[in-house]
């Protein structure tokens, strides 16, 4: 077990974490590049920056949007807050960073981390239940829409058990192994699933606006490409 745990925390983690970083960097770079290219090709180069910025901020800090779909919004918002704070500010995680890279930052107290972890787990389950319970979400959902919140919850469940070995029915090593490996899985999934919204959301309002900025002769070129330039309507 010890070997496997070392493997999970060593090479596997290194791979997963770099995969995530590189994947996200690639996504951001590609999107930025494509956005710039679209604007270079566009006939109209003016953009309503203020409006784009307002819309972007409204969704990055979605407190004003809570009132529609109140329950779902609250669930989702608390879920996001909890899963962002705990992994980054857990004292145990920071200690690992300090050991590995010599960097550190302030931690949250462990009891608070416990509470937030439980909140994250409950909210993940609540998200899935709400998704299954409401007709429109049920109609839209794909397998990954149910699976992702649950997959994200696994490192929290195992992390909680690892923090409280006495409450855990499993061995400490096994729990920690599951914890690290499930986190590694999440890292890998981030750039290749809808979890990538964590880096794309700040740009999407801009993308939606740029999307209406077309090259001046896109239509005529499409006509030529399809051999329709002289075709009567």
């Amino acid at each position: 077990m010890e070997f496997w745990l070392a493997w999970a925390r060593g090479p596997a983690f290194l791979f997963a974490f770099s995969f995530m970083l590189l994947g996200l960097t690639r996504l951001v770079a590609l999107t930025a590049w494509e956005t710039a290219r679209a604007m270079r090709r566009a006939g109209n180069k003016t953009l309503p920056y203020r409006q784009v910025l307002t819309a972007t901020l409204k969704w990055l800090l979605p407190f004003g949007k809570l009132k529609d779909r109140l329950l779902l919004s609250l669930t989702s918002l608390t879920f996001h807050i909890a899963i962002l704070i705990v992994p980054v500010f857990l004292a145990g995680h920071i200690a690992l960073w300090a050991r590995g890279l010599g960097i550190s930052w302030p931690a949250i107290p462990n009891p608070l981390a416990d509470v937030l972890t439980i909140v994250a787990i409950i909210m993940a389950v609540a998200l899935v239940i709400q998704r299954a319970a409401a007709r429109p979400t049920r109609a839209l959902s794909r397998f990954q829409d149910y699976a992702i919140p649950l997959v994200v919850a696994v490192p929290f469940v195992s992390g909680f058990l690892a923090m409280h070995p006495l409450a855990s029915p499993f061995s400490y090593e096994a729990t920690l192994f599951v914890h690290v490996m499930s986190a590694n899985l999440v890292f890998v999934l981030i750039p290749i699933t809808k979890l990538s919204h964590m880096v794309l959301i700040p740009g999407v309002q801009l993308v939606s606006e740029v999307a209406w900025h077309w090259p001046p002769d896109a239509g005529s070129k499409v006509a030529v490409a399809l051999g329709k330039e002289n075709e009567p309507i």
Binding site: E34, T56, L200, S208, A211, H213, D217, G219, K228
Partner: protein, 472 residues
């Protein structure tokens, strides 16, 4: 005669006879992705779409039908799925390994029906946490479908007569246009006792070249008289070009290819006359299409001014003399999606109405969050789907109107007006009168203290004022 066949709207025969539609659809898709900028949003949307269904509650259609297929995200997914499968690496790979989804005729039919159950009003965009613009997806899907001839006959025929026939969507020849304008000039004589209010034709070097929805010449004499009256009392330099007098652009509703040609024709007419600006009449989609002038014709394309912006600037500058009496009946205002959704024209009409009415009430929600009239995206021109438009798509609007208790329902848009009249008829709102904003303005303009357009000093003074006003 068109055939309904598989769709709720008529299409031309060729749409039903063709073969190999999936292949041709994908060819068109590839060409569009190469030459236009749609690849970017599709790529981002396909990654982001989280299927939370927040958008459902914001769509007037879903609110009424509750059908799964009317959830905005469901409709957009139809196109995103094709994009993902055929135009992303992971999709191609997945298809090679697992097989799975293949584009079929039936699927294209479902898409064809779906995108005309959306008015591309873009109301749902502001409720999507992922910023997905379903109006854009509908817009693109309709273009792609039109390349395999799946397009409502009503839109196609109007565009054909505009680009290859008489030159405008209502097939009004120049002599008939002149007759109509002369008739309207006589009306000014008969009703207001003014013989100097004109519809100037082909005046070279005019500041504004006028492009209303051409159907106004057939259906909305009061709106046009209101336009002419405002130009007259403000001494505005304007003209109607007999080379092109139609602001309607159904290209916006089904094909960027057509849209480009129509906008270029508008700009060409302004240039032919040596005019400076495009003055768009009371029409939402004509205005939004004209705003694309710089997209298709570059940065020196003529500036676009909507007649509401012109009227408000002039009213604020004190150039539109008003009678003592105001309109006392209750008035409400419907925001046309095409000018209001992005917040571009929402305040001017309200300022004008507040100045000329004593009992102006808002519908809720309004402005950028307003509900579509139910006939947006060109669907208003598709007569065979009237029951759908007024019953399902327009039901929410009917409730909004009813709640205001208004006598006059003002909407400065030819499409909205036609739809709203039918919504009122079909939803028992017989007391409501649907009018344009210039119709009401016409009622309260005081011509007796109005200045004469032929007085050149005045005209110059006004022109100077207008220019000052633009910076504000």
């Amino acid at each position: 005669m068109g055939k309904k066949g598989k769709y709720s709207f008529y299409v031309e025969d060729k749409a039903l006879e063709v073969t190999e539609r999936p292949r041709r659809f994908l060819e068109a898709f590839a060409a569009v992705l190469e030459h236009s900028n749609y690849g970017l949003p599709l790529e981002v949307y396909t990654r982001l779409s989280t299927k939370c269904s927040r958008c459902a509650a914001s769509c007037q259609l879903y609110q009424t039908t509750g059908e799964d297929r009317d959830i905005p995200c469901h409709r957009s997914e139809l196109l995103l799925k094709i994009f993902r499968r055929y135009f992303t690496k992971s999709g191609l790979l997945k298809a090679r390994v697992f097989g799975g989804f293949t584009l079929t005729d039936e699927y294209l039919d479902e898409l064809g029906e779906a995108v005309y159950r959306c008015t591309a009003c873009r109301r749902c965009k502001s409720t999507c946490p992922m910023g997905i613009d379903h109006g854009l997806v509908t817009h693109l899907a309709r273009w792609l479908l039109s390349e395999i001839d799946v397009v409502p006959k009503a839109l196609l025929v109007a565009t054909r007569v505009q680009l290859e026939g008489v030159g405008n969507t209502s097939a009004i020849p120049v002599p008939a246009l002149k007759d109509t304008c002369e008739f309207l000039e006589e009306e000014f004589q008969d009703i207001y006792n003014r013989d100097d209010i004109k519809f100037p034709m082909d005046v070279e070097g005019a500041e504004y070249v006028f492009f209303p929805a051409v159907s106004d010449y057939l259906l909305e004499p009061d709106t046009l008289m209101g336009n002419a009256a405002v130009m007259h009392v403000t001494g505005g330099s304007w003209t109607i070009g007999t080379g092109n007098y139609d602001g309607i652009n159904y290209g916006l509703f089904y094909s960027d290819r057509m849209m480009e040609r129509i906008v270029k024709n508008v700009v060409a007419e302004v240039r032919r006359l040596g005019g400076k600006k495009i003055l768009v009449g009371e029409c939402g989609h004509a205005t939004r299409s004209a705003w694309f002038a710089s997209t298709f014709c570059g940065p020196d394309a003529p500036e676009v001014v909507n007649c509401l912006q012109y009227a408000w600037d002039q009213l604020r500058a004190g150039n539109i003399p008003l009678k003592e009496e105001r309109i006392e009946e209750r008035v409400t205002y419907h925001d046309p999606c095409n000018i209001a959704r992005a917040g571009r024209i929402t305040e001017e009409p309200r300022e004008i109405l507040n100045a000329i009415c004593t009992d102006f009430v808002e519908m809720t929600p309004n402005r950028t969050e307003n509900y579509c009239c139910g006939g947006g995206g060109g669907t208003v021109s598709i007569d065979e789907i009237r029951a759908f438009r007024t019953g399902l798509m327009g039901k929410r609007k009917a409730e909004q109107i009813r709640a205001t208790g208004a006598k006059y329902l003002v909407s400065p848009c030819a499409n909205c007006k036609k739809q709203l009249k039918e919504v009122c008829e079909d939803n028992g709102l017989d007391e409501v009168e649907v009018v344009g904003l210039h119709d009401l303005l016409l009622k309260v303009i005081d011509f007796d203290i109005g200045r004469s357009a032929t007085d050149s000093k005045d005209a110059q003074a006004h022109a100077a004022k207008t220019e000052e006003g633009e910076g504000t």
